[in-house]
Structure formats: structure tokens, C-alpha cells
């Protein structure tokens, strides 16, 4: 049996619905373990002091912010190529989750930046790229909300997601270029992942796993919601069409 059989909304719902609560609880448990471990049982880092604890939320949310967009891109491609409604609805369901992740990454980054760099916000390439990603999420969600016809909305947002992906990557490299042009080599990057010690790395890994699980749980839940909402409007439309005959 191929994976495409799950493209049937009925089958998708029947298969995923029992999983959603389990996934929710599992992600909550993994997150709780990772976060409690990170918050209470890790030492302070030399340069960062206790502010290093922000990493357990900052890095996983940033990771999911990008991965959510990637998932939307894949789902949009599947919709455009194979016309499976579940795929388009999954992309729609993932967008707000990705947006909240982007917001968390930005806010925690700003709060962390204040003591470390002495500023809430710097026009560092990484930060700027995330802000642009946030704007892309906003536009994508707004376009979904604005188009009344569901199939047209799925098509147009998919096209936007494709074009947006290209421009998001373009922006990522453009801001790199732009900032180097401004402050020569001023590196504010915190990307020292390679030499993060195991004491920080292991709880961080658990937190990342928790965020991934939470993302899957939320996307499955929200996709189910979207499928049901679509069914409601389909039933209503059928009823409206039937009424003149009855009357």
C-alpha cells in the first residue's frame, strides 16, 4: 500500500486522529524532560552566565521555524503536482505554528541579545533573515484567509510558497552581503554549536526532539481541523444547492 492512500481525507483522519492525543502527551513529556533538565540541572556557561538557559527555547524554535516552512514547501509541491487536498490543508495548518516558532526565536533572541551584545536588536544577517521569514509567514497566512474559494486559495498560496522560498533564500544571502557592507566582519553570530559542551548539548537535543514532536502533533491536529472545516462548508454548499429543488 502506497503512502498516497493517506491522501484520502477520510483515511487520513481515521489514521491520525487516534495518534494526535498520544503525540501531544509525548511531546509534552519530552519537552518537560528537556526543559526541566535544561533549566535546573545545567551549569552556567563561562561567557553567558545563566543566560545560556535561553538556548533551550531559542535554538529549537529557530530550527522549527525553518523546518515548518520547508514542510509547507514540500506540501505545496505535492498539492500542485498531485492535487491531494490533505497536502494543501497540511501546509495551511503548519503556517501559524511556524509563525509562532519564528516569533519565539525572535523574542528569545532579542531578550538574550540585550545582556550579551548590549542591544535588543542588531541588524545581524541571521536576525534580519528571521524577521523577513516572519513577514513571509504573515503574507502566506493572510493570502489563505483572503481567498474565498478553497481550491484557488490552495493553488495561489502554493505558488506564493514556492516563489517565497526562492526569495527567502535570496534574502538570506542578500542580508549577509548587506551587513558585511556595513560593519566589516562584525560577527554577532552565536553559532558555536560545534564546541557546545555535552552538558548543554544533551538537554538541548531533548528540547529539539520535543519541539519536533510538538510540531507534528500540532500539524496533525490542525490538519484534521481544516479537513473537518472543509467538510462543513462542502455540506453547507450542497444543502444550499439542494434547497431550490425542495422548495
Amino acid at each position: 500500500m502506497s503512502i498516497w492512500s493517506y491522501a484520502n481525507p477520510r483515511k487520513f483522519l481515521d489514521t491520525t486522529a487516534p495518534w494526535v492525543p498520544w503525540l501531544m502527551w509525548l511531546s509534552a513529556a519530552v519537552l518537560a524532560v528537556g526543559l526541566v533538565w535544561g533549566f535546573f540541572f545545567t551549569p552556567e556557561a563561562e561567557r553567558f552566565g545563566s543566560s545560556v538557559k535561553i538556548i533551550y527555547l531559542h535554538v529549537p524554535s529557530a530550527l522549527m521555524a525553518i523546518n515548518a516552512w520547508l514542510m509547507m514547501l514540500v506540501a505545496s509541491l505535492i498539492w500542485l503536482i498531485r492535487r491531494h487536498h490533505v497536502s494543501a490543508l497540511a501546509a495551511r495548518a503548519a503556517a501559524p505554528v511556524g509563525m509562532v516558532m519564528t516569533l519565539i526565536a525572535l523574542v528569545t533572541g532579542a531578550i538574550w541579545g540585550q545582556p550579551m551584545w548590549g542591544t535588543w536588536w542588531a541588524w545581524d544577517p541571521r536576525l534580519t533573515a528571521f524577521l523577513i521569514l516572519f513577514l513571509f509567514y504573515l503574507g502566506y497566512i493572510a493570502l489563505w484567509a483572503a481567498i474565498p474559494d478553497p481550491d484557488s486559495a490552495a493553488d495561489l498560496t502554493s505558488v506564493l510558497c514556492l516563489v517565497g522560498s526562492v526569495f527567502a533564500i535570496l534574502s538570506r544571502y542578500a542580508v549577509n552581503f548587506w551587513n558585511q557592507g556595513l560593519h566589516q566582519g562584525a560577527s554577532l553570530s552565536l553559532d558555536s554549536q560545534e564546541n557546545v559542551a555535552d552538558v548543554f548539548w544533551l538537554p538541548l537535543l531533548v528540547c529539539m526532539a520535543g519541539f519536533v514532536l510538538l510540531f507534528f502533533a500540532l500539524v496533525l491536529l490542525r490538519t484534521g481541523t481544516e479537513i473537518r472545516a472543509r467538510r462543513i462548508s462542502a455540506l453547507r454548499a450542497r444543502a444550499r444547492r439542494a434547497e431550490p429543488v425542495r422548495a
Binding site: 545563566s50 527555547l57 501559524p96 523574542v107 545582556p115 481541523t225 473537518r228
Partner: protein, 48 residues
């Protein structure tokens, strides 16, 4: 409560905001799902 040193405010606020945002997202998704489920049941009863 453990001692967070001079970064206590930063750590607490970052964690507070993030966890609140996650909780809001989960709560909002669950609430919408419940409403849509109820709505679907009603619609299926009326029209189905």
C-alpha cells in the same frame, strides 16, 4: 528557586514569553478543533 544571577530577568522573561506563546498556540489549536468538530456534527445532523 534557584539562583540565576544577574541574568534572572532575561532568563525568566524569555522562558515565560516562549512558554506562554506555545501554550497559547496549543490552546488555540485545541479550541478551534473542538469547535469545528462540534460544528461538523451539527451540520452532518442537519444536512447529512
Amino acid at each position: 528557586m534557584m539562583d540565576l544571577g544577574k541574568y534572572a530577568f532575561e532568563v525568566i522573561s524569555a522562558w515565560g514569553i516562549s512558554l506562554a506563546a506555545l501554550a497559547a498556540l496549543v490552546w488555540w489549536s485545541l479550541r478551534r478543533d473542538r469547535r469545528v468538530r462540534a460544528e461538523l456534527e451539527r451540520t452532518e445532523r442537519d444536512h447529512g
